[in-house]
Symmetry: C2
Subunit: 341 residues, 2 copies
Amino acid sequence: MGMQSIKRRGTQTIELSHPPKIISTYSIVGPKEGQGPLKTYFDEVLNDDTCGKDSYEKAESDMMFNAIKESIKRAGLQQSDINYLFAGDLLNQIISSSFAAREFEIPFFGLYGACSTMSESLSLASLIMDGGFADYVVAATSSHFSAAERQFRFPLEYGAQRSQTAQWTVTGAGAMVLGKEGDFPEVRYVTTGLVKDYGVMDANNMGAAMTPAAVDTIYKHFKDTGKTPKDYDIIATGDLGRVGKQMTDKLLLEYGYDMRDNHIDCGDIIFNSEAQNTDSGGSGCGCSAVVASGYLYKKLMRKEIKSVLLVSTGALMSTTSSLQGESIPGIAHAVAIEMNQ
Amino acid sequence: MGMQSIKRRGTQTIELSHPPKIISTYSIVGPKEGQGPLKTYFDEVLNDDTCGKDSYEKAESDMMFNAIKESIKRAGLQQSDINYLFAGDLLNQIISSSFAAREFEIPFFGLYGACSTMSESLSLASLIMDGGFADYVVAATSSHFSAAERQFRFPLEYGAQRSQTAQWTVTGAGAMVLGKEGDFPEVRYVTTGLVKDYGVMDANNMGAAMTPAAVDTIYKHFKDTGKTPKDYDIIATGDLGRVGKQMTDKLLLEYGYDMRDNHIDCGDIIFNSEAQNTDSGGSGCGCSAVVASGYLYKKLMRKEIKSVLLVSTGALMSTTSSLQGESIPGIAHAVAIEMNQ
């Protein structure tokens, strides 16, 4: 039946034999994110979250286009050097990604992983690099508060009241370029998640819906690799928010993994939730994308930290599935990134 | 800057160095598809396209779940043998795929490629196999006429009139299991498409919208590999329909590639369009999925043909993008499958 692949570790993890390097990133955020605690780490802060377009959806696509374009430029490359683009977003039929991809002559794989898309795209991009299929690959994603609100909740004009466990969709786009050489952070492990559904029904509490997936993927990563939380300077979940982060820490402690000292949640740190009125924190594909390609990448490049486990988390429902009484399945993918000191 | 990967051919093609084998497939279709010209090639024909569920969306997800489950069983495997599932569908936030994946303990990569999903999922599954990351991978997709109609066009109850260039979304799900050994068809080349948009605005003429992408990917495949249409017994585009198929042949002939003898379109052959009132033919992710995993796979296994170039084609719009006046971008991915004689 064929030998077990020598790259596999345990049930869900690949140890990359030729770790690809993240040779550049680019992050764009909206005005609100640009006033938050991480503002100095983002490459571009929009003054106008419509990007001069006549719809929020077009604005989101423009943001993603610019993040991809600028990440390629920062890497000193041309778009013709890029072998694949892996991208996805939250909008129906991932129009932000497809319409951004339309502007490039780069072979395109469209993804849907909801807010797990940054680590999904980075996982696949890394595997494709490690497999020897490409010299340069771009991984990207985006989200836009106003486009997501009207698709998943209510058009802003309705003035609907927000729940306290609700999260605030980040307006932002992040892109990463993978290459083979240079003094850059490397992708060492890719742990791919299972879809987990513990029956959470409340679309205003997606942190709770995604927590089982985050816990499962992090647990599997440690089990598959023999690593422990101490092996990473930062373990960054995607957008569990404050509530989901606490639940995740508690559950992993029961498995014997104490992450309380080095676990951050991108959704939890991107806003000052009290001053910025963002309830349980930020969410959206763009959340972990800009925190990873802005804050975390820059800390790695400056050698302020040497290792990150990025665990973007996605809630895989649609408005249709929720209206039909379905619970909310979650998924989380983990990518271990290390900088040689 | 690193050596050009030895697996790359031209700008968009990979020649697999350890061609994965399609060790089993499973195809499920609705009652209408089960009355069409290919009926004897499908593994399962539904009597009831609700699958006993209380919504069409749940029925679609159930169909995909069953296609995956049965394909694994036919391969003589357990779900724990499968290292990755690559799947996507047409519904908002790909709920058919995510809710099917929830029922398995298989690491899941969600995709969105509209009706190109069968060749997108098969492309990625093949690359992951060839890269040595997996022993077994499943690629799957689905579509459901009634779920797609009410999402993209009108709920059936409206009784809206159909345009003559409109296509009929196939109710069907197809799954393929890739492995390493045995006397099975092999995936030899993967040509990944660019997003192409020639400004077609008519959502009732998606064949025209997807034709530029199909032409570009097929042209690139031949250019990258040095092959010609004669090297394949069948070149099967996804769901261009009759109209798009003719345009594709005409345009490729201008590039010097004559496909008129061996080009079939899955959308064109799945229905008897006059007797079944399906206008320009079938469409939907499920269309090329069931034609490939039913008809084409069985012809390869029986050695009636020895090579197929599968080119599933997707129209990457959403109802939102169309309402906002955007044209319809298309994409096509090509996978070359060969059976040793």
